[in-house]
Amino acid sequence: MRTPPVQERSGPIAWLRQNLFYSWISTLTTIVLLVVLAKFSAFVFQWGVVNAIWSVPTGPQGPNSDACKAVQGSGACWAVITDKYRFMLFGMYPFEEQWRALIVVLLFIGLYVVSGMKRFWRPALAGVWTLALVAIGLLMWGGVFGLQFVPQTQWGGLALTLILATVGVAVAFPLAILVALGRRSKLPFIRWICVAYVEMIRGVPLITLLFMASVMFPLLMPEGVNLDKLLRAQVAIILFFGAYLAEVIRGGLQALPKGQYEAAHALGLSYWSTNRKIILPQALQLVIPPLVNNFIGFFKDTSLVLVIGLYDLLAASRAAIGEPAWQGFAVETYIFVGFIYFAFCFAMSKYSQKLEVHLNQHRKR
């Protein structure tokens, strides 16, 4: 007797059968999901494209949003974005000087891209960072080379979000390395301080650290010293990032076999050169993926500075919809802002996944 021919196992039909309609319950799920998806997409298309208003006339009293109010509920009002996007991106930075803030944003993005490429991972990168941060500071403040001086109180929008996140990570990183080493130190007092710092900060929400920075720092400083609100928030953010990064780095330190320490000891290396030349390079390499994941969280967390009245990306957008003409168009604004946050975080998250595969290559057989 002949065996029956083997069934076709490739091609689109076979794929559909295997992945979408392999049992009656799967078929039901697929159909329900397709219907929901179709309805949702149709609604979004109708609301966001077909019925949407893209721009409104501007009169002497500012923009006239009557056209938007007429379609509210059935159509999106993207005019709020076209009218206010510069405020959302740069906050109260002087209008004519916003090109400087734009260059700062581009510099930051360039910095991220360069730091993400493995072939640039060498000591010179630290120099590039220092130079770029100096340039960013010069551009933001101005006051030299004929640039108009802009005080910190006028910084805002995306530029501020990137400053808070990047400076936060850049300063918290070395701090975190010291704390992580301190937590594993043989000196009890130093270990005790580091444990206390990490556990205290991780036990409380970032929002309370920000409140503390905004109400308690002025109390803790000597008479007459008045730290800027932005600087206070930045300090709180650095302390917060530092505690979380220290735990990630500690994980990397713990993962190193004891033999590495013993070998360094046998070579007669001191504590600091052991760590600098042997331990840290390996430990940091091990924890790059969780580090990137933490950076994503930090980037999102900077939005909390809104509660102490700093005009970062999210806060500036909220201020924009506080205007009488744009009240009630919050959803459109949040979608726009969400898109910006998503672009940054999604890029980082995809990068982290790629890196994980790449870094684990040598372990594959």
Binding site: N19, G73, L304, Y334, G338
Partner: protein, 373 residues
């Protein structure tokens, strides 16, 4: 010798910095004429709190106001943890579905909600809730449920003593069922014969409470909400602030929990599942005895940190106007200027919550952890 030098140096720096900060604080507080100490807790707060789980009026003391805030924090954190765990588990399992469309949609959910700041999501949900119609034109999908810009209203049972007895009977039944199920499992593992547990479960958890209901004659009456001109009377109304906060916390954290659950399930090696099939275990028993116990060991530690995050994230309540401990303490701070004491109280409350969650979860973790030789 070097050890001592380093430590003394560190100690001197720490003590120096702290005494400098405390000295400054004392000088500043003296200059501003703010009383220090916790005496203010007994004074009248005078701040209105819309949502309170215990009786509260603005004439009550600061202490009571702070307790109300703490209970509000615990309330939203508790429901957040419960609901996010359920939703997250469902999504995590669905991500592993053989159905391509379902798996892809669920990973899109995870990617999308993980990469947006929680604060932004809270604002978005709150804005959408505020866009709902007023009470008069409330959305009324099924009888007794009203969705308006005042929040979500739904009917509750008109509670009476007989209901409490029924509930007690059900809880006792539940405990007895768990004990008997455990005993049955142990016996099955001893002699290899499987026993059905459902008859005992039905008897204890359904028949027993039902008997209580019938003998006591518990009336079944619902307290239905009814929309008045500006407000809704009767039933239970969940405020838009609470609803937006809870919804945001659940949607956001479920995305993270889904990833934790997925990685836990995937960590169970395929050989284990094949081995249990080879032993002739039913697939439900494979899940119960082979996959879940091993997956839980991977799931519980990161899940603990996620619960801690959720509890801390509930502090974002202050941004959308739900009065949790942070919100009430900052209002009090603006009223009486006692920032140091109030910040200390907030930190104390969160540290206690964090430590309690950690302790509970570590206890659980110790029970399920791998027992090594």
């Amino acid at each position: 010798m070097r050890r001592v030098v380093w430590q003394v140096l560190a100690a001197l720096i720490v003590i120096g910095v702290f005494s400098w900060l405390i000295g400054n604080a004392q000088a500043n507080l003296g200059a501003r004429n703010v009383a220090s100490g916790f005496g203010f807790l007994q004074r009248e707060a005078g701040l209105p709190i819309a949502e309170h789980l215990i009786p509260y009026t603005p004439a009550d003391s600061y202490l009571r106001a702070l307790v109300v805030g703490m209970l509000n924090t615990l309330w939203v954190a508790f429901w957040g943890i419960v609901l996010a765990t359920i939703l997250g588990t469902v999504i995590g399992v669905a991500r592993l579905s053989k159905n391509w469309l379902l798996a892809k949609l669920m990973s899109a959910y995870v990617e999308f909600f993980r990469d947006l700041p929680l604060l932004l999501q809270l604002f978005l949900w709150y804005a959408l809730l505020q866009g709902l119609p007023p009470v008069r034109q409330a959305i009324h999908p099924i009888a007794g449920v009203y969705l308006s810009n005042r929040g979500l209203s739904f009917p509750v049972l008109d509670w009476q003593t007989a209901h409490s007895w029924t509930l007690l009977a059900f809880i006792l039944g539940l405990i007895a069922t768990v004990i008997s199920a455990k005993r049955a499992t142990r016996k099955s593992l001893d002699d290899g014969r499987q026993r059905a547990t459902w008859p005992t479960a039905v008897l204890l958890m359904a028949v027993m409470p039902a008997t209580v209901v019938i003998t006591l004659g518990a009336p079944f009456a619902l307290d239905m909400p009814s929309p008045q001109s500006f407000n809704i009377r009767g039933g239970v109304t969940v405020s838009p602030e609470f609803f937006a906060l809870l919804f945001g916390l659940v949607i956001y954290n479920a995305a993270f929990i889904a990833e934790i659950v997925r990685s836990g399930i995937q960590s169970v090696s395929h050989g284990q599942i094949e081995a249990s099939r080879a032993l002739g275990l039913k697939s439900s028993n494979t899940l119960k005895w082979i996959v879940f116990p091993q997956a839980l060991r991977v799931i519980v530690p990161p899940l603990t940190s996620q619960y801690l995050n959720l509890a801390k994230q509930s502090s974002l309540a202050v941004a959308i106007g739900y009065q949790d401990i942070v919100s009430i303490a900052t209002t009090a701070m603006n009223q009486n200027g006692q920032a140091v004491e109030l910040v200390a109280i907030i930190m104390g409350v969160y540290l206690t919550i964090s430590l309690s969650i950690s302790a509970l979860m570590n206890h659980y973790n110790a029970r399920i952890a791998l027992v090594e030789r």
